[in-house]
Symmetry: C2
Subunit: 139 residues, 2 copies
DNA sequence: ATATTTGCAAACCGTTTGCAGCAAG
DNA sequence: CTTGCTGCAAACGGTTTGCAAATAT
């Protein structure tokens, strides 16, 4: 009955409150990359007494313990909201449809290798990277 | 006597005020990727009467006409300031030294090609991308 | 002459936080 | 019982904006 994230939270030693259980469920079930506003909307749909401050605190916490990943996709209307997704087994990057805002996840070993190689070329060990492709559908 | 950016501004039909001339000069001479606060600091060093609102308006304008590029590098202390650099002839990406914050510019044709290829694979034409590598120096 | 730009201060907007009460362990 | 969590509303920090005066063309 408990969501994927709830299990992880317990493992991390977090107290499981009703609010966290609900937010965890919402995030577990999200296949898009919702922002806080949207997580709040979906959560209050389940229990209207959840405050947005709690949503902010919870996603922050989940990010800190490595359960959630934060993104700051560039978006035409200049809105500046962080968006979230569950950390996946295998890393992936994102391609954003400029027209619709749709987000496509992909993974490419060749690029990952090249990134490490470039870092090394400049005397660095690659720790993290951010790669977003922005495109338009070929009709 | 006029800076590289000033020339471009005139070409774009912008009115050249003292403030814009100074901000243009500061940006032309910057080899780092200064944020607004820093551009403001350097500008008021030349003419103390420039307001930070003007700096904000000017970098925004310069970005809109394609002279400046805005970056939102991820940084440990969580500060959220946009940073700017002159658009260069040949596109480049950035590697950020996690420990020092130093920014290294690089260009890699192979990665650029791969990115296009990936976009195409999903039925997209690549319009833009963002790639930042975060690493630590190999001692 | 007139349209644009400036400086100021106030507004904005996403996010964080202090606090008193509440709930998990 | 104690420690951590919640809701509220106020604060925060980077950025934008309305306005009247100043300036470029």
């Amino acid at each position: 009955m408990s969501s994927e994230i709830e299990q992880l939270c317990i493992e991390k030693g977090m107290r499981m409150t009703d609010q966290r259980r609900i937010i965890a469920k919402v995030l577990s079930e999200a296949s898009d990359h919702p922002d806080v506003e949207e997580v709040y909307r979906r959560s209050t749909n389940i229990d209207s007494k959840i405050s947005i401050a709690t949503v902010y605190r919870t996603v922050r916490l989940l990010e800190e313990v490595g359960i959630l990943e934060r993104h700051d996709f560039r978006v035409e209307n200049g809105e500046n909201r962080a968006r979230f997704e569950l950390v996946t087994q295998v890393h992936h990057d994102h391609m954003i449809d400029i027209d619709t805002g749709a987000v496509i996840e992909f993974h490419d070993d060749e690029i990952e290798e090249l990134q490490k190689k470039i870092a090394k070329k400049y005397g660095y060990k690659l720790i993290d990277h951010r790669m977003e492709l922005y495109g338009v559908k070929i009709k």
